[in-house]
């Protein structure tokens, strides 16, 4: 029997924040899980949209002139080239990200929060 990918089981295997883990691949896209806590950095992905699906917690995605409030079971696609900065509302957020392989979490920004590509949890 083939085992499915269980999101809770995968979340039980990492606890660092702002460091997306690849759990599956879909053609040339990656499905990533991430724990978020606090405020990230303003950044842009010039070449791709980026999907956020919140699984637990409350997340605000700040845009330069607006913002999006996401709770469990809500998703938002940040369009390519749109500057954004995720910020948790209170406590940790667990989210799924979907984007093409090779996208770096901090996009055109860089710094301490830039995470290494981590596919150690992918099957």
């Amino acid at each position: 029997m083939v085992e499915p990918i269980d999101l809770d089981e995968k979340f039980g295997r990492f606890f660092d924040t702002w460091s997306p883990k690849v759990v599956a691949r879909l053609n040339d896209y990656e499905i990533k899980l991430v724990r978020l806590d606090g405020e990230f950095v303003w950044h842009t992905h010039p070449d791709t949209d980026e999907l956020f699906l919140v699984l637990d917690g409350a997340l605000t995605i700040q845009l330069r002139d607006d913002e999006v409030h996401l709770g469990p079971g809500q998703l938002f696609v940040v369009p390519r080239g749109v500057e954004h900065c995720p910020r948790t509302v209170s406590g940790q957020v667990r989210a799924m990200l979907i984007e093409p392989a090779g996208v770096v979490n901090t996009g055109d920004a860089s710094g301490a929060l830039t995470a290494d590509h981590d596919d150690s949890l992918a099957q």
Copy 2:
């Protein structure tokens, strides 16, 4: 304020089964919601992988020599070219599908269950 896409709200707007509804786009991919009930048809997508994420209910994805059992919060990517047939275990399943735009639900098969492309719920 930009509104997120609320999966429960979208599911509240359709009740037909085996008829995926596009709710968001990610580059040239589509995020679809679908209600499943009973057994589908055996088919293949020769050119693309297909992601199933179960949100509610219990789903078996039958493969020719194996099967995958999925519950809420579990996902499986059917590799391109792999023949498969989804079957619900008991009662209706609500699932999210992700695949490139233009993929037909019945793949290389056809027949009564082939659904029209429906993006009337997409923003």
